[in-house]
């Protein structure tokens, strides 16, 4: 009964917090809502016309949606780069901010789920995936495993953050016996979501560009570059506009980790490039398509070189202690990493895998406007979700928003 009381006040208080803010906050929320609305409108076009509103065709049957999905799985998995130092090493500067990483994971996974939903031809048949009424084709289908891994990770992070915040709201520490096992579990779960997502591609014998044993390690390592880059920038923005504080040491530690991961990421890319170019089998065509173009088809080429350039520049920037500990250079580095990894991992991963197609045809895929608008809607919705979650979490962590005995009594 008492818990119910706590919960009631928590929910009511949270709603109040979400609804109040300064002009800038309202403008931001209105902007995100507008993005979401545009996306919804574009999606209704797609629902009534079919996926013909996208630029996807039989030759390139996955594209912008699935690319974004892949990138965002990485962002979600990267929460683990905060969870490990925070809980495994009990390092205070990161422990203070770890919740934000987990909240970002919740928002990112939600966006992932939405990107998959908009990509499928019959979203209303989603229940076919639910074991019982439908069937989940495990162990053979990698997408089926991905559904399990992603939903598991979403639930896990949602429960971890909600439980922690709810306890703090009651001015209690979380019960370690409940809390810590969940946190431990979230570490392999983070690795699992990105591994399974990589296996979704790597398991396809039809696509030599994806059918590589190092795809999963590449996914994970690049996620540990781009995820923290997103987090670092978001946290500085938060610091600017709220009472949230992130210590310099935390930022420096995260950027140091990013330097190592980026180095490893480039090494793995190099290994892949060597294998393809030196062997010089038909399989190299996909890399040709990325880096030089094939028979005049070179839409991706400038993007890919730009991405590789960004990643190298960021690596050297972060490798040097002085430059990664310079706030301006660090932010430039984050931006470079974001662009580098985003291009390499979304369009740069999905499109060359399908171009040329399995019978050698080249269809140059460029997302349609409607496709871009649907994606904008999803990102807007994810942003809205993250904004609200952060808006509620910050005063709880600051100790400003907590259960008040009197307020509850008044209501009685």
């Amino acid at each position: 009964m008492k818990t119910l009381n706590f919960f009631g006040q928590w929910v009511a208080g949270s709603i109040r917090i979400v609804l109040t803010g300064n002009k800038l906050y309202y403008a931001w929320v209105a902007f995100l809502m507008a993005c979401t609305a545009i996306g919804l409108w574009a999606y209704t076009n797609q629902l009534s016309e079919g996926l013909i509103t996208t630029s996807l065709r039989d030759q390139v049957s996955w594209g912008f949606y699935i690319g974004n999905f892949t990138f965002l799985v990485g962002v979600a998995a990267a929460a683990v780069t905060l969870v490990v130092p925070a809980y495994l090493y009990n390092w205070k500067p990161i422990k203070e901010i770890v919740v934000y990483g987990e909240l970002l994971a919740v928002a990112a996974i939600t966006m992932c789920a939405l990107f998959v939903m908009v990509d499928i031809g019959h979203p209303e048949r989603f229940w076919h995936l639910i074991p019982g009424p439908g069937i989940l084709n495990v162990p053979s289908s990698m997408l089926a495993w991905d559904v399990i891994a992603l939903n598991g990770y979403l639930v896990l992070n949602f429960v971890i953050t909600t439980y922690l915040l709810f306890r703090l709201f009651q001015r209690k520490e979380p019960n370690k016996r409940i809390f810590m096992p969940l946190v431990w579990l979230s570490i392999p779960a983070a690795i699992a979501i990105h591994t399974v997502t990589a296996f979704l591609y790597a398991g396809l014998i039809s696509r030599p560009y994806w059918n590589s044993a190092i795809l999963a390690p590449r996914f994970i390592v690049s996620a540990f570059c781009s995820g923290p880059a997103v987090m670092l920038v978001l946290m500085q923005i938060l610091q600017r506009f709220s009472k949230f504080k992130i210590r310099k040491e935390a930022m420096w530690k995260i950027s140091e980790l990013m330097a190592y991961f980026m180095g490893f990421n480039l090494f793995l890319l190099g290994a892949e490039v060597f294998k393809e170019y030196y062997s010089d089998t038909h399989h190299v065509t996909h890399m040709h398509y990325m880096f030089t173009g094939v028979e005049g088809h070179d839409t991706l080429v400038p993007w890919m070189w730009f991405a590789v350039g960004c990643s190298f520049a960021a690596f050297f920037l972060f490798l040097r202690r002085k430059s990664r500990q310079n706030i301006v250079l660090m932010n430039i580095g984050c931006l470079l990493i974001f662009m580098g990894v985003y291009i390499e991992k979304s369009m740069g991963m999905v499109i060359p895998g399908m171009t040329p197609d399995t019978l050698g045809e080249i269809y140059e895929y460029v997302p349609s406007i409607n496709e871009l608008l649907v994606a904008l809607g999803i990102v807007g919705f994810g942003g809205l979700m993250f904004t609200f979650m952060v808006k509620i979490a910050t005063p709880i962590l600051d100790g400003e928003f907590y259960y008040k005995e009197r307020e509850a009594k008044k209501k009685d």
Partner: protein, 295 residues
């Protein structure tokens, strides 16, 4: 039977789903479609009812009283095999169009189950130098040969493996089929297929009423909705009744051979035993039931 009924009951009790279905404004047929079980789990009576429903639906939609949807099962002792004589094929593409006429593909976006690739003789079978859009005045052209590709009906099918909901599977006679009412349209199977054999209905497939082939099969050529995957079924509606697939019937040079591989007297067995046959992309271990040979 009991299983599928309880399944529907379960789903109906999901208020959300029912509400969603109502919100989209569905009549009885869409309602029955939304809650329809996977083909493999339909009970006999339920299948009968659905087949009747589908037949009536198509009779009305295409004003064709002959429209019938059947679900003839695999015949015992039958495993289909296909062989194509590359030295005879002239690249006329009559098979491509006969297939469309037979299998009720959408006409507007021109879904073709067979893709004929023009290849250079000097390169041999090399997909990277193939042209599916060749259009000379007359075929065959000097120095070229033609490689028609459709579903290879693999024994070790990567598409079947990849489907998250089990909407595509291999029947006992070897035909890989798709349940259009169960497919969620995620296109994993298309990504998985090494032969580019699967087609997606990117838009609502339009078939002019006079073009409908009224002899239809549940797992074959009945009209598909948008947003699902389809592919060659060896003309399941014909071959399970002992007829040849449309592409075999139309081929003017007799390059296409089809039959029951378990029947020692069949033509396909003769080809397999007396010709040097090969399969496409053998290194992928998909083990196709579709063979090629030089006659």
């Amino acid at each position: 039977m009991t299983k599928s009924v309880s399944r529907r009951d379960f789903l109906c009790s999901l208020g959300g789903c029912a509400a969603a279905a109502t919100a989209v404004g569905c009549d009885n047929i869409t309602h029955s479609k939304f809650f329809r079980s996977r083909f493999k789990e339909l009970g006999e009576e339920e299948l009968e009812r659905i087949l009747k429903e589908l037949s009536t639906e198509n009779q009305e939609r295409f004003s064709n009283a002959e429209a019938q949807v059947s679900a003839t099962g695999a015949q015992p002792g039958v495993e289909f095999g296909y062989a194509l004589d590359l030295s005879r094929c002239t690249g006329c593409r009559r098979c491509v169009h006969a297939c469309v006429d037979e299998n009720n593909q959408g006409r507007e976006e021109e879904i073709h189950w067979i893709r004929v690739l023009e290849m250079e003789e000097k390169h041999g079978i090399d997909f990277h130098h193939a042209d599916p859009y060749y259009s000379p005045e007359t075929v065959p052209e000097d120095g070229k040969f033609y490689l028609p590709v459709a579903c290879q009906q693999c024994r070790n099918a990567p598409c079947v493996k990849s489907c998250p909901v089990g909407a595509t599977w291999q029947e006992d006679d070897g035909i890989v089929v798709v349940d259009y009412d169960w497919c969620i349209g995620c296109r994993c199977c298309m990504a998985a297929c090494p032969y580019g054999a699967r087609r997606f209905n990117w838009a609502e497939p339009e078939i002019p009423a006079e073009d409908l082939n009224p002899n239809m099969h549940y797992l074959g050529n009945r009209p598909r909705p948008k947003g699902v995957v389809e592919k060659c079924t060896f003309c399941i509606q014909k071959t399970r009744k002992g007829e040849y697939p449309a592409c075999v019937e139309i081929c003017p040079v007799g390059s296409r051979k089809f039959g029951n591989m378990l029947d020692p007297d069949s033509e396909i067995r003769y080809v397999l035993e007396n010709k040097k046959v090969f399969v496409l992309k053998a290194e992928l271990n998909t083990r196709p039931r579709f063979y090629y040979f030089y006659g």
